[in-house]
Symmetry: C2
Subunit: 530 residues, 2 copies
């Protein structure tokens, strides 16, 4: 049976090809002036020397569970840089004492009841792709142990409603399985976070995830029509399937982004979309980033509805082209613009958008000969990036990403502030390195930025280097008025910044809600609230 890597992205038999690794290596040699050498392989699970489970053994038969070393290590964290560096070096700080695999809501309720009886904490695992410490069983010492709740057996498609364009699924289903069930109906979720192949619907909802087509179609927040949730006390509740309502605050909104604090999302009715028949993607080159951002703003404010719209800064554009071509060339900011429709041609929309871009000084790819590779190459490597990061981590480098959002009035200044603060920290920590930026989502009132940073790691000190850079970057984001995360969630990693981002009145309200449902505070303690 194919197993997921405990120390990296995807399955054990997956990763970059030798050719890709060679290209990446030569790219780094050119860029950083170093010839990276593969580090030592991660230790086998058996060599990790996990402490024994602290919970009563054997666990009850009322729900499926495992205490195998592999299962415990796989559920000991997510896929953040911090997680992977530790795992690769054989360091597993917080293995869960038990991994539960409920195959039904009643098994899940039985699990929660047992957890309550034995005084443990529960961490909903989703697909385990959190990059913000959202699934690491790092909980206060008052708990007798930790249970990681793996929902991968709750993965059925319960109903497809092509008329209302809704699908009813269990929350443990993965992105590709959902799309496979929708395809015969001519539908698709059209929600493509980078974690698409390994993340779950429940995880998307619990983290307010965004994806590749979220400029038109919105983050997962807008796709949720109804939810079933199980409270820590075992109460099951479902919201009504409605396009909208005004009976009190939106009941779904309390669980969307709740990161497990208020219980477990077990089912969802999601809004889905007809498969596009008409598609157009174009790249537009600009002399200056500010002009590209202005074009992006004008396009979304003109009501032109691009399904995706991204601005690559010159560094991102250069790396993107170099990864495809192997060559470094001075690059200009690029606006990538995609339209799609299941019902009608999109040419008029695209033309109107290109007119807006031209008015800001943009030259379309064909007019200026910008390589189509820059456009398609970027998309091609989107889903490969986590594997690239694995290789970089294996070579001992610092390599991570973070993302944020800001209103348009501050967009360009904010980009420079954050990039410069991050670059300064990278240079201080690593001697040399790079920070690349792009926008990932555009709204009429603002934009989401996504930054990637690289730097040389000092063997054994990478986590300290990374922490200093992460702190400098997130401090700059907070100072500039941005959010600590636009679509990666708060987790444990951003919790120190939630305090200044969110009003105390909101925290009091949310903790009041949690106290009512989870008097022991046993659901994923440590996320959101530091």
């Amino acid at each position: 049976m194919r197993r997921r890597k405990y120390w990296g992205w995807g399955y054990e038999d997956e990763g970059l090809s030798s050719a890709e690794e060679a290209r990446l290596g030569s790219l780094l040699a050119t860029f950083f002036g170093v010839t990276p050498a593969p580090g030592s392989a991660p230790p086998p699970v058996e060599a990790l020397g996990l402490p024994a489970s602290r919970l009563p053994s054997p666990p009850p038969a009322s729900f499926a569970s495992s205490v195998s070393a592999y299962d415990r290590v796989l559920h000991a964290g997510g896929r953040s840089y911090r997680d992977l560096v530790r795992f690769r070096s054989g360091r597993v700080d917080h293995p869960p004492d038990l991994v539960a695999f409920p195959a039904s809501v009643s098994e899940l309720v039985a699990c929660l009841e047992w957890v309550d009886r034995v005084g443990a904490a529960v961490i909903p695992f989703g697909g385990g792709t959190s990059v913000t410490g959202g699934v690491e069983p790092a909980v206060p010492a008052r708990f007798s142990g930790t249970v990681s709740l793996d929902l991968s057996r709750l993965n059925r498609v319960l109903a497809v409603d092509p008329l209302a364009q809704l699908v009813h699924v269990e929350a443990g289903i993965l992105g590709p399985d959902l799309d496979a069930a929708l395809k015969p109906h001519g539908l698709s979720i059209r929600h493509y976070p980078q974690s698409y192949y390994f993340s779950t619907v429940g995880g998307w909802i619990a983290t307010r995830s965004g994806g590749h087509y979220s400029t038109l179609l919105g983050k997962i927040d807008t796709r949720v029509c109804a939810l079933e949730v199980v409270a820590p006390n075992g109460t099951v509740g479902a919201t009504r399937k409605l396009p909208s309502s005004s009976i009190g605050p939106d009941p779904n909104a309390l669980w969307i982004g709740s990161e497990g604090l208020l219980g477990v999302i077990t089912k969802a009715w999601l809004r889905v979309h007809p498969l596009p028949r008409f598609k157009k993607t174009v790249g537009v080159q600009f002399q200056e980033l500010g002009h590209a951002l202005e074009a992006a703003r004008r396009i979304v404010q003109a009501g032109l509805y691009p399904v995706h719209l991204r601005v690559l800064d010159p560094f991102e554009a250069m790396m993107s082209a170099a990864f495809t071509s192997g060559l470094f060339e001075e690059a200009r900011p690029v606006l990538i613009l995609g339209f799609e429709s299941a019902a009608q041609e999109v040419d008029a929309m695209l033309e109107a958008a290109l007119a807006q871009a031209a008015a800001c000084g943009g030259k379309t790819a064909s007019a200026r000969g910008t390589k189509a590779d820059e456009v398609e190459g970027w998309r091609h490597i989107f889903f490969r990036q986590p594997y690239v990061r694995d290789t970089l981590i294996g070579w001992g480098l610092i390599a991570d990403t973070f993302e944020t959002a800001i209103p348009w009035d501050r967009a360009e200044a904010f980009y420079h502030e954050v990039r410069e603060a991050t670059l300064e920290a990278v240079e201080e920590q690593c001697g040399a390195g790079a920070v690349l930026g792009r926008t990932t989502h555009a709204y009429p009132d603002g934009v989401a930025f996504y930054f990637t940073f690289f730097g040389r790691g000092r063997p054994g000190e990478q986590l300290e280097q990374w922490s200093a850079i992460k702190k400098a970057a997130t401090d700059a984001v907070a100072r500039g008025g941005g959010t600590a995360s636009h679509h990666h969630a708060c987790g444990r990693d951003h919790a120190p910044w939630s305090e200044q981002e969110l009003p105390s009145i909101w925290k009091a309200a949310l903790l009041g809600a949690k106290a009512a449902l989870d008097p022991r505070g046993a659901m994923n303690p440590g996320v959101v609230f530091p």
Copy 2:
């Protein structure tokens, strides 16, 4: 100084013209076979014999307030049928003991502190246009009295940001004042609930209001970028101005629709829109309602973005035409379709939508000679309808509206179920009457229906008749899977149905949040939770 009617809509010098009354009268004579006669005029405020205020006198000077009979009566309820029938007959069940008019957040905090000290309950009044009992000071006996919180002095525009298309306002501002401040910037709120002239931004947010252009632009939920709220304990908190975030559940969503339960909304950053330069509205006639609904569904699912889209059932279409022309003619279902844009022509969008409508059997107005009046006449009377209702109430008739929403898979069947149950109750209670229906908002996954019912009232028994009809209608909505309100909020009138509509787990969470902020439960007790 111009004063608002305590017993009806708008200012004391406003109402239907004699010509409008005459036309309405002849229309009713034709329709109901009765010649309505004006009832007695509402008693003057001085004759109402209000009980003395139960709260300490004089109130503190730290915030402006009033105990005048007029102010107490004006704040004794909203503008529901139930409210107005009672007021007109001189029955004022729950006058507040004090009306507070804070002119600043610090005055508001002083008011909340005083209320806490004297053990009273607080009812945020907004513009007082609630049609669901949301502002009636009907509270449990454990409170020493009631304070109605009028925010009309917190009505400043604090900032307009044309770049990010955002406006920062105090929550007591009325719709027209907001638009007047936006107009010099080429912007508009484009949110037109029927209460637009008399309702406040804070009220819109607290009730999840919808408006005339909400099909494209969304209900007020989607317009809220950031909020300032004051908790019952006097804590002031503001969310950050962000296009989106994933740091915990959306903090705005807890207050959007909270109907005063969690504190007072004092400021908002709202997303606004450029004034449209290109506009087209067309009416399309169908042989059958089901075909019109199918056209509506196809259009919104095709991603064609009409700014408004309404389907009038044959009864609504007939009454609408008759009100304008004075003539009854057999009418067919009508689809009203409007497109607008500030940036580009909308003809291509409109044509694509009309092609969808034609594929469902629709004939456009020009092609079939449908009177343009049917289209424009409907919009013309939109803002007049509350005055029409006043006249009907004055004539002793039963005349009210209710609205709901449902997914597309149930839309047509649900319409018939709800309409028939309501008509049956109207006929049982009134002998004769009518129920008209239209859709007001369309979504890819569902649609909002709005029903109007009329019937003969028995003098002095109208409230009992109305209650029986309201119960039959709302029971049918609940049985059919709809929501008790799509955009009028829960208030006190729909609270009996919230129990079955919302899961208990959500109620527990919301009451937990409330307990944390409002341990005395003094904020608008009685709304949402029966």
